[in-house]
């Protein structure tokens, strides 16, 4: 008798027809995601004539690869400088944000810590209300942070949502472990550092990713607080290339040596801003579901 194949989870293996249907379905879904992405890559690499002939969007460059869009963005040094600035903001910002968020989350997760309930309430309230544009600006100004990168890093370094996620994870740690540590004479600090954090790598990775992506993508704070455009992060510099589909140059300036078409430039910009995140993502992704779900269920 032929034994039915069984999948890892104990589920019976579906029949051939069902598998084919599933495969086609999944391939289609993948195509929906992947094809536009290929289009972005292709358009950024296609020659100007090809882009305009194709009506702005090229699926596969057939006339060879043309790097003029990338050259035009990367020449002049503003974009490379902005890449460094963005790297700094993201790295330092994420580090600071993680330290603050984890410490706050830990403090709020310990029953009986000083002012636990009122503090938790304060954090929750900040989820409901937004300070608004001008008050935020005035606060930054009062702290003397205008025109400094800290103005972009500090205001978003504690996100209430992330604090809640981290706190929920900490609350879910088995009390027995912490109790035994306490019996062995560990201080709160040691319990946080040597037990809490190592047990919570998944949630720290996920929250770190949230912060990292947030810092990498943010431009509005920089727009308001940084007057010196040489301190602008990548996203804001790239924004000046694509402001609402404005055709750069032609009207504001006179005749110019041929510039690549705007669509190629936009697609190249997309690539430049997406690639760094794409490189980091796979390393953190394996923690993703675990980190978020654990926090969510045990909240």
């Amino acid at each position: 008798m032929k034994r039915q194949q069984v999948l890892a989870g104990g589920m019976p293996m579906p029949g051939l027809a069902e598998r084919i249907v599933k495969a086609i379905f999944l391939t289609l879904i993948c195509a929906v995601v992947v094809v536009p992405f290929i289009g972005v890559v292709s358009t950024s690499l296609a020659s100007p004539e090809e882009v305009i002939r194709a009506g702005g969007f090229v699926l596969f460059p057939t006339h060879g690869i043309d790097l003029s869009a990338y050259k035009s963005i990367l020449s002049g040094g503003t974009v490379t400088q902005a890449l460094l600035v963005s790297g700094f903001i993201t790295a330092v910002g994420t580090a600071i944000a993680l330290v603050l968020t984890c410490m706050l989350g830990w403090a709020l997760s310990r029953r009986g810590s000083v002012g636990n309930k009122p503090l938790l309430l304060l954090v929750l309230i900040s989820l409901l209300f937004n300070p608004g544009l001008i008050p935020s600006y005035l606060v930054i100004q009062q702290f003397g942070l205008l025109d400094s990168l800290w103005a972009v890093i500090l205001p978003t370094s504690v996100s209430a949502f992330n604090v809640i996620v981290v706190r929920a994870y900490f609350v879910g740690l088995p009390d027995a472990v912490l109790d035994s540590a306490r019996i062995d004479g560990a201080s709160e600090w040691k319990m946080f550092w040597y037990i809490g954090l190592p047990l919570s790598k998944a949630v720290v990775a996920v929250v770190g990713l949230f912060y990292g992506v947030g810092y990498w993508n943010s431009f509005f704070g920089a727009l308001l607080y940084l007057n010196d455009s040489s301190k602008w992060p990548l996203q804001l510099v790239l924004r000046t290339y694509v402001v609402n589909g404005v055709e750069i140059g032609a009207q504001d300036l006179g005749a110019t040596e041929a510039l690549p078409p705007q669509t190629s430039i936009q697609m190249a910009i997309l690539m430049i801003s997406v690639v760094p995140i794409l490189c980091v993502y796979p390393f953190i992704q394996r923690h993703f579901a675990k980190g978020v779900l654990t926090g969510a269920v045990k909240g």
Binding site: E49, V51, I52, R53, G55, G56, S72, S75, G76, G77, T78, Q81, L133, I134, Y137, L138, Q141, L146, F220, L223, L224, N227, D228, S229, S230, W232, V237, R239, T240, Y241, V243, N244, G245, V246, E247, I248, G249, A250, Q251, D252, L253, G254, A255, T256, E257, A258, L259, P261, Q262, T263
Partner: protein
């Protein structure tokens, strides 16, 4: 009021912003100030056109820009002493171009500083974000020495509090001390006169920002079509001939909303009725206009992506010939030249006829200015230096200063090709200091990209602009318009697009207008009417 409907182009943005008060303005103040009887005659700066460079095709007579077929061979030196005082000049304005390299790596900026005689610092913001940036900077009281006035509520009060009253420096003949500011057209100054005081220097536009219908003259010629339309039916014929769906050809790159309104004599935003103002939304021909537009859409003459794409898609469609007609401003001409793939491509302009064929129709005249720059009260002591700097930036076409300002240094930022300056890539990236949104010379038609085009554009403007309909309250200020105008306009544009695409019946327009009126339209009309009255 925007013409590309779903898309937001820079020009419509600016036109919109000018209307909602980026420009702000009026010859009267608001907020309880009754205005000094609006006597602007004594305040208004004297107009003294610059005569140092002779244009190839003079436009003053027709109220259109001068046109040049080539850059004057030996540009005159317009300014002999550097305007600066050695102390930094800080400027807050917006930009529509990628930001420039920083000072240390920017030869143009370094040279600018030495020619100005003061280190110039610029705080640039992408134009679409400028209103927010400006609001925060005003609130934080950190306005630069010179600032472009953004779209914030209570502009007159803000100016009274934060900006220098320039009347004693610029009114009447006083302006002659700054000859290139005196060269700015008279109507442009409307945007910066409040309660009989001059609060800034305008960025002039006018006729060049009027919307017209562009044609690919070469395609029309190939198909044996006349670049001329006598009535609505003619227009349908033309669109039909230029549409070939199987070959992916659609006559119109986007909905020609304004062109059709021009055929039906719909006024430019507002029309005067005694002492009151009537919005063009309420014009009786609007429903007929929609019938025409709906027919164009349902016949497939308008590109199917017309309502979903971005502004630049228009240029791509026009450039690759998939749409031979597109509505845009006169100032967009060079950008269409640059996106043309086919070197044989030629651009033409079709004037709107009256819908019934009873003669030529009238286009809408562009707003005289897109905004104005003011001087901060904190810098009052240096006001003459700052005005001299703006005078430097307003040096007109044909001068050495203009050549440097727009094209940088020869050999480095531009090369001279057939006697005309052409920006190099380095030049393109380095000259973007937002200078043209600090102070600028009157617009000049100069199209070195293609021989004959300067004449073509000049002639088209000469034919259409003298009869163009002006907005009677262009550049005037209405508080309600600043606060509610943007949302009201968005709603009306949405309804317009829905009706054209057949998602809503034509009768929806009447309801939308009612909602517009009660939602602030009536108040705006009242405020503008008052501003208009007191400006006389």
């Amino acid at each position: 009021m925007t013409n590309h409907d779903a898309r937001l182009s820079r020009r419509t943005l600016l036109a919109g912003a000018a209307a909602i008060g980026l420009a702000g303005c009026s010859n009267d103040g608001r907020g309880g100030q009754t205005g000094a009887g609006g006597d602007t005659a004594g305040v208004r700066p004297a107009y003294q056109p610059y005569t140092g460079v002779k244009p190839d095709l003079p436009g003053a007579e027709y109220n259109i820009p001068n046109a040049f077929t080539r850059y004057p061979a030996n540009p005159v030196q317009a300014i002999t002493t550097p305007p600066g005082d050695g102390k930094p000049i800080d400027v807050l304005t917006y930009t529509n171009t990628p930001i420039p390299p920083k000072l240390e790596q920017n030869r143009f900026w370094q040279e600018l500083n030495s020619r100005v005689g003061s280190p110039v610092t610029v705080n640039l913001t992408p134009s679409v974000d400028y209103a927010q940036k400006f609001a925060t900077v005003v609130a934080g009281d950190r306005l630069s020495d010179i600032f472009l006035v953004g779209a914030v509520p209570q502009v007159p009060q803000m100016l009274e509090a934060k900006a220098v009253d320039l009347t004693s420096h610029l009114s009447g003949d006083n302006i002659k001390k700054y000859p290139y500011l005196a060269n700015l057209p008279e109507t442009a100054w409307n945007v910066c006169i409040f309660s009989g005081k001059i609060f800034g220097v305008p960025i002039p536009r006018g006729a060049i920002s009027s919307n017209v219908l562009y044609t690919r003259a070469d395609i029309l010629q190939k198909q044996g079509l006349q670049g001329e339309v006598k009535n609505v039916d003619d227009f349908f014929e033309l669109c039909k001939a230029l549409t070939d769906k199987p070959r992916n050809r659609f006559a119109l790159a986007a909905s020609p909303t304004q062109f059709v309104r021009n055929m039906f004599d719909v006024p430019n935003n507002w029309s005067e009725n005694g002492k009151t103002l009537v919005s063009s939304n309420e014009h009786e021909a609007q429903e007929e206009v929609f019938e025409v537009l709906r027919k164009l859409w349902s016949s497939g003459y308008i590109h199917p992506d017309a309502f979903s794409g971005q502004n630049q898609d228009l240029k791509v469609r026009f450039g690759n010939g998939s749409s031979a007609l597109v509505q845009d401003t006169f100032s967009a001409w060079p950008s269409y030249l640059q996106t043309a793939v086919d070197k044989e491509a030629r651009i033409g302009i079709v004037g709107p006829p009256k819908h019934d064929g009873s003669g030529p129709g009238k286009i809408w005249l562009g707003a005289p200015a897109i905004g104005f720059a003011a001087i901060s009260k904190k810098s009052e002591a240096r006001v003459e230096t700052l005005l001299a700097y703006m005078n430097f930036l307003a040096a007109p076409f044909g001068t050495q200063e203009y050549l440097f300002r727009k094209y940088g240094l020869p050999g480095l930022h531009h090369n001279v090709v057939d006697g005309n300056p052409v920006l190099t890539k380095k030049g393109f990236s380095e000259v973007q200091l937002g200078l043209m949104y600090t102070a600028d010379a009157p617009w000049t038609v100069f199209l070195p990209e293609k021989a004959g085009d300067a004449e073509a554009e000049y002639n088209a403007m000469k034919a259409l602009c003298p009869t163009a309909l002006a907005d009677p309250v262009a550049g005037m200020y209405s508080e309600t318009n600043v606060r509610k105008g943007p949302q009201l306009n968005t709603d009306m544009t949405q309804v317009t697009n829905d009706i054209i695409q057949g998602r809503k019946p034509v009768s929806a327009w009447g309801d939308a207008v009612k909602k517009w009126k009660s939602g602030g339209g009536d108040k705006i009309a009242e405020e503008f009417a008052q501003a208009l009255q007191s400006s006389r």
